[in-house]
Structure formats: structure tokens, C-alpha cells
Symmetry: C2
Subunit: 360 residues, 2 copies
């Protein structure tokens, strides 16, 4: 039996991906020169689709990296001047914090226990912070950061750069880019593409920051520093020979989603998450891992298995029926399961998942 992956890491491929990869092979996408017009067209097409899909303003830049993990490194190297603030409530928000420290920056860590979100009372950013990192959706715990809260932080902090980790909430996330300075994601989650590509979106304010740091003597290297990325992107190119099939496939999947309409994709995600959360709430042996509804993720659904039953059993039971889900992360490995609610996972699969969970 071929398993269907509702995992929160790499997840099931978007249903059109295989056909796009076949077409890419047929069209020699991996063979043509990355300095050719044919590649420039692919690059330009994908950037245009990403912008249209997410409503990215014309004057924001879109560049490609190896992963979203790489973007943390770039932000630490190119955009943090002296001190960054990090809302940390899981492994991924923690890891960017660790990167900032690894680059010798001062940091402010605003921390909450796993499974908890942040409220307005937590928005106390130190006055000397110049970059604020917000993980909009913590993949490790299923906690989201509501966009209204992000907008409030913007109002209270007009000068600091605000950067959004949207790895596991794109394309569901509907955010006003004019209220943030940078957003990044990788393609193997909500976009349902094969891993190996990060997308980094940022505005001129980020470029100005990098420029002033460079002018002050900050070393940024020559590989994927912001200037090398931008210089190439301005020609619809990449600094090194790229994963062209991945850039092509991402553009095509964006186009597919735009055609289906982002409103429909988002409302379907809402609907599927309501179904699953309702089943969890009604089940005597299950509970929401995220108690506060306001910060409960719609795209990574984390379920707590109450004492007396075993999360491993639930995973094995679903796996026997062909549905693969993820374990809880880190210390929650034994007591939680994580289930992706990404666009490629149909309502029908969710109906079946909910039936199975109800019967467990």
C-alpha cells in the first residue's frame, strides 16, 4: 500500500507536482544553461506567481535559497545589526535564536512553554532591538502567531525589521506584507513541492539595513549574501547553478493554486481543520495540544493523547489504514501526534482521517 503522508515535515506532494516534473524533464529544464533566456523566463514566471499568490507588493524582492533554514543564516549575517528579539515557543523559533547568537549578536528571547502562544502582554521588545523574529506557525508545537498581533507589534515597533517564518503556514497565511519587512518559507510543506528550495521575500528596508552594515565593514561573503542574490535576481538569475526543476515546479504549483483561487484553498483549510479539531474535542482520550484556541494552528494540527492511551498506537493505527502522521516534537514525542493540513490533502482524506480518529 502506498502511504499518504499527512506529515508535518516534508508532506504529500501537491497533486500536480509529478506531472510538472515530467514536463520539466521533457522541456530540458535541468539541462538548459542557468544563464540562458529560457531559464530567465522560468525564474521570472515563478517570482511573478509567488507574488500574485501571496499578494506581495511589486517593490518587494523574491530570491531563492536552499531552504528556509538558510534564510535564518542570511538574516543573521545581513540584517541583524546588533540585537534581535525572538518569540520562542518551539524548536524552530529556538533555532533561529541560536543562529543569531552563533553570529555574535545580542538577543532578546521572549519565551513561552511548548504549546503556548504569545499575547499582547508579551510584546515587550527591548528598545535597542533592530530585528524582530516571529514564527508565524511553530511546526514543532502547532502554535500560530495571529497576524493581528503581528500588526500590533509593527505599530509599536516602527523601526525594527520584522521578519516572519511562515514555513508551515504558506500558502494558507494571508498577511499584509506592507506591515512586515521579510517573510520566508520552504516549499516542501504547504506548497507540496519536493524539498531543496527556500523562498526569501524582503523589502528595501532590509536592503538598506544590509547596505549600512556592509558600509560599516560587516563581512557577508560572496555566495548567498543579499547583494549577490539581488544582483542575480535583477537579471532573473541565481548566483550558482540552481535547482531549476524546483524553481519551475514551484511556479507551476503557485499557478495551479491561483487558478483554484486562494480564497477557496484557505477556506477549505479552515473547514478541514474545524472537522479535525471537533473530532479531537469530542474524543474522550484526545485533547488539543494547544489549549488556547486563538493561537491554535490551522495548518499543523497537534493532538495530545491522554494518559492511558498511547500516541504511538494512534500513529500505527492510522498507518495501517494508509495515513502517515508525524510524532510530537522533542519532549512531546511520546504523547502527541502532528498532522499536516496542507492544500494537497483533500477534504475526502480528512473525512476518512476524522472517521478513523473517532473510531479509535
Amino acid at each position: 500500500m502506498k502511504k499518504f503522508h499527512l506529515t508535518a515535515g516534508p508532506s504529500e506532494l501537491y497533486f500536480t507536482v509529478e506531472q510538472h516534473i515530467q514536463q520539466a524533464l521533457k522541456d530540458n529544464v535541468a539541462v538548459i544553461s542557468h544563464r540562458s533566456g529560457a531559464f530567465q523566463e522560468i525564474f521570472a514566471f515563478t517570482v511573478k506567481q509567488v507574488k500574485e499568490m501571496l499578494g506581495v507588493p511589486e517593490d518587494y524582492h523574491v530570491v531563492f535559497t536552499g531552504s528556509a533554514t538558510e534564510v535564518w543564516e542570511r538574516l543573521a549575517q545581513d540584517c541583524i545589526a546588533k540585537k534581535s528579539a525572538h518569540f520562542v515557543n518551539g524548536s524552530f523559533s529556538e533555532r533561529f535564536h541560536a543562529f543569531a547568537e552563533a553570529w555574535g549578536h545580542q538577543t532578546q528571547k521572549i519565551e513561552k512553554p511548548l504549546g503556548e502562544g504569545f499575547s499582547e502582554a508579551d510584546h515587550k521588545i527591548d528598545a535597542d532591538v533592530d530585528l524582530i523574529s516571529i514564527t508565524q506557525n511553530e511546526t514543532s508545537t502547532g502554535v500560530q502567531f495571529p497576524v493581528e498581533d503581528i500588526y500590533k507589534i509593527r505599530e509599536e515597533n516602527p523601526d525594527a525589521l520584522i521578519t516572519i517564518d511562515a514555513v508551515s503556514s504558506i500558502p494558507y497565511l494571508d498577511i499584509d506584507f506592507t506591515k512586515i519587512d521579510s517573510l520566508y518559507f520552504s516549499v516542501q510543506k504547504g506548497m507540496g513541492c519536493p524539498a531543496g528550495l527556500g523562498v526569501w521575500i524582503f523589502n528595501e528596508k532590509c536592503v538598506d539595513r544590509a547596505k549600512s552594515l556592509k558600509a560599516e565593514g560587516r563581512l557577508m561573503g560572496g555566495y548567498h549574501d543579499m547583494f549577490t542574490l539581488l544582483k542575480n535576481a535583477s537579471k532573473n538569475m541565481t548566483p550558482a547553478t540552481p535547482n531549476a526543476i524546483a524553481i519551475y515546479t514551484l511556479g507551476k504549483v503557485c499557478e495551479d493554486m491561483i487558478r483554484r483561487e486562494m480564497k477557496i484553498i484557505r477556506s477549505e483549510s479552515d473547514y478541514k481543520s474545524s472537522l479535525l479539531y471537533a473530532a479531537v474535542g469530542a474524543h474522550k482520550d484526545l485533547d488539543y495540544a494547544v489549549k488556547e484556541e486563538r493561537v491554535r494552528s490551522k495548518t499543523v494540527i497537534v493532538i495530545e493523547v491522554k494518559e492511558g492511551r498511547d500516541a504511538k498506537d494512534l500513529m500505527a493505527y492510522l498507518s495501517e489504514q494508509g495515513l502517515e502522521v508525524s510524532t510530537g516534537y522533542g519532549p512531546n514525542k511520546a504523547t502527541q501526534v502532528r498532522i499536516a493540513n496542507f492544500p494537497t490533502i483533500s477534504k475526502e482524506v480528512y473525512f476518512r482521517l476524522v472517521d478513523l480518529i473517532e473510531a479509535w
Copy 2:
């Protein structure tokens, strides 16, 4: 007509690649977790094949990056202590030199004009150099650095790290790894795989260097610094969600080549290059771009078109017959063409290429 790419950038895919990608899609390679046993098996398999194919000693490390370009950055960050020496005779050797300077290192540039190689008289490495960069095959000019010369440099410089750029000579290059400290390549040239993956091989001496630099306070970040790469590789994993299809495909292509026998692959490359060079030598309007035979590349063949005829015409003529070749690089764009001689390009294609060139 589907064009056959004998280009020196990305090139024709190895003839088994499409089928490996199909199998990877069928086996859910892009969907399984990169923290799972199934991925660890793929990682371990590919490392084993790379080592076997190239004769890499057991105690050398193999890690994956986004490209060979990324490896320059890593070497500059993690391995150059104070001063690096660079043999520069083309765009790629020049670019690593630029990276080293971008990271604030002192450099010694041993430079030759485009199309020329290095001789023993050029091996005058400054006493304070701690890393020596050798581009074994300059893709931009078709000049090779004979391995015997590399071994001599090793003897004369027992302490400095010796790092080899073998981007466009792997898997043809047959080198004794015990006489070098690091070698790197990307997969879209001689391996015939889709771009988006670099392979970085290094020994404990490189690790020791990185350790001592870190101990001295060198900042290396947290993304793809040597320690994060090694920590993950020791578990057959990558620091971020990887391009798993690319790692899988590389392993399979290595296996295919090992099965065919590296000796045969190498002697076929020798044979094809002799055929083409003979045709160039005999043609009244063509000449070797690399005059000195000793340093003439076997894997990237650069042809000079004499005054009166036009390199663009030669390219257009070959293209009409279905064979795509590359322009000369940089200042040689108008007067040279570059032709790949990689394993996926069969003798039969080369027979046809030679016939066409003779008739031009």
C-alpha cells in the same frame, strides 16, 4: 527537435537519470521525513557510492551543500586561517579568490592568462599560506591542472590544506585523495544529474583546522558550518530538509557508473577527447584554445575559431543539427566554443560531432 546538450554548464542528464527520478517519485523519496530511517538509508547509500566511485579513503567525510559555489564560501569561513593561495586562470578560480577576500583573508594570487596552465615554476607558495586552492579543471577555459603537479605541490607544502575544485572533471578525474585534503564538485556536469547539489569531501586535517579556528573565536554560523554538517552526516542526515531526490539520484548514477566500471568511463572520455582534438587540429579554421597539450582538459574542450570564421556560426550550425554547445567564457565569447565531454555523451554522439566539425 529535442536538442542534445554538450554544454559545459548544466549538461545532458545521464541516460539513467529520468528513470531514477521516476523511481524516486514512486518510492516517495521527496515525501518521507528527512529524520527517518528511510532517508538515512538513502544518505548512507549515496555517500558509499561516491566514495567507491572516486576511491575516497574511509576516514574522509562526505557532506552535501547546495552547490560547489557554496563550498568556496564554507572553505573561506571554516578552513582558511589567515591566508589562502589561489591558482587563478579563469572565472571560477577567480571567484573563489574573490570569496576568500570577501571574508577578509589575505590571499596570494598566482595568475596566468586565460587558456594557459601552470608549470612547476609557478609553484611558489608564500610561507604563510595555510590553504592552497587548485582548480583541477577550469570550466571557463578548458585548462586542466595535472594531478602530478598537485602531488608535487603537496610534497613542497606538507602543512597547508590543499583543496581541489573538480566541478567539471568528476568522475573522469582519478586522484589520490591521500595527497589532498578536500575536493568538491557539483552534480550537473560530469555526473549528469539535475543541478542543486554540491558534494564536499574533506579529511580530519580540515576538521582540525575548523576546530582550532572556532576555538580562537571564529564565527561560523549555524546553518552549513562544518560542525553542523558533520554532526548531521554522522547520523546520515542533513542540517535542513534536503533535496532528497537529488541525493538519491546521485547515489544511483554513481552506482550505474561503478557498474559500467570507472576505467571504461575514463578511457572512453580519453578516446572521445582525442577524436575531437584531432579534428580541431586538422581543421584549417579551428585551433586548440589551450595551446599546451599537457594542460588541455579532457572533459571541457575549448575550440578557438580563427579569424575570418565566426564562433557563433559554428554554434548555430551544430545547433541546427541538434547539438548544443557553449559559447566561450567572458572575453572569449565571440571567438571560442566550449564542448563538454562527459560520460553521458556517447561515442556515437562524438562521432557525429566530429563529422559535423570536419564538414564545417
